[in-house]
Symmetry: C2
Subunit: 253 residues, 2 copies
């Protein structure tokens, strides 16, 4: 695998973050070359945020895209308990509030330094009219995020700790492979602490740790210093009861 090009389902995807985003949108709905060009032109580089930095609402007025880095939406309750409601990986749209021109009240933190991109909402609206395919792709992306949320509900509601964790690792494997972020040895960066994983999975830090050890012992994965090796995706999938169809990212060029 060459340094600058990563193979994704037979096509070559440059590791340029902008290209990554365009490619990902096109997985939801085929985009004409002109639509892609228009997207590239409309997308401007936004701020670079540091790790642990919170994004304020005003930063999300426009269509904001995570070009590189990881973000989490979360909610902090009075009693200090925190729940992460979604994980965002490169190529994801951070918030779909622009579809309803509603100012969202989502809290968001970066778990790594992250590069944001933005498209002015007015300009995006014009794009959507000019290229209906862009609007369709965006709506499908939003629907996919909703499906991911549904899976999290199911995890928190009826899945065991090991099922939750392995399901999350499976999901991330599929989502990251869609944007060319799976390494050659079938590993990927997972820049989240065990405490943060607990806040996603509804488990205590200690129990996350023990659950990771259970998974390690099955031989399906290994984890170390922010990296996950998927040594047996098939086994991991069956441990999780994972069915990737909800991600609905059919690789269409």
């Amino acid at each position: 695998v060459p340094t600058r090009l990563i193979s994704v389902s037979g096509t070559l995807l440059g590791n340029d973050p902008v290209e990554r985003f365009v490619h990902r949108l096109a997985m939801f709905e085929p985009l004409e070359p002109e639509a892609r060009d228009a997207l590239r032109r409309a997308l401007t580089r936004g701020p670079l945020t540091g790790a642990m930095q919170e994004l304020n609402g005003e930063a999300l007025q426009d269509v904001t895209i995570l070009l590189s880095g990881w973000l989490c939406h979360f909610r902090l309750l009075d009693n200090g308990r925190r729940q992460i409601t979604s994980i965002l990986v490169p190529g994801d749209i951070i918030d779909y509030g622009f579809l309803t021109s509603n100012s969202t009240e989502l809290q968001c933190v970066a778990t790594t330094p992250s590069q944001l991109g933005r498209i002015r909402s007015r300009q995006f609206a014009e794009l959507g009219v000019q290229f209906p395919s862009i609007m369709r792709a965006t709506l499908k992306a939003a629907a996919t995020e909703a499906a991911i949320g549904r899976e999290q509900i199911i995890s928190l509601g009826v899945r065991s700790a090991t099922e939750r964790l392995s399901h999350l690792l499976c999901e991330l494997w599929y989502r990251l492979s869609a944007v060319g972020l799976i390494n050659a040895e079938n590993s990927y960066d997972l820049p989240m602490t065990q405490a943060e994983l607990g806040a996603v999975l509804g488990l205590s830090t200690v129990h996350v740790n023990r659950t990771i050890q259970v998974l390690r012992k099955t031989g399906a994965i290994s984890m170390q210093s922010g990296k996950v090796w998927i040594s047996d995706l098939k086994k991991l999938t069956s441990l999780a009861g994972f069915d990737p169809s909800y991600l609905s990212a059919t690789p269409s060029n």
Copy 2:
């Protein structure tokens, strides 16, 4: 309160299910009288489903609306465990798959006999073009459903059993009052068994029962045979840590 008219935030809402739906959409975005008329004309009566009956996917090709009765989206895992991922009350759109012309794979059961309404997706698309307010209202309704899902994630993740239940009861109070389904003595019908509530809240049937008793003892509510009396909404709200802003149903017009 007259029999056929129910007061909702100062306006009078007929208990005609079609009117209820139009009124509810208009709460998300003001709708011109012509837009309302067009909606009424486009909406046709769909099938009447029995309780415990499952809706199959083909029934959801079009824009399907719950005119009366209650539905639940759910997921059944291999091990027999079931998680309800959303509760639908009269006036709700059952599935937003039409926005992406995706056939959804959501399973859905009726907890009471339910009357469905439908708008052909092609016709709805035309409506959306002719009346952008309808499209905006629909997108906001979808966004609200997403927000409800996020709250469920938070409940399952970090809220205690009593918080979960009281939060759900608060949410239903607000959602039902938006469609004129709160009775004079501040009660509403809750046509779900304790087992079903458990499948929503991620609790066992037995524990739901005990949690109800805890709430009863606080004096905030009473429950009996499918009916809930909210005797102290303020106390219930504080027990739940409930903030209704996510429902974003600003009573407009």
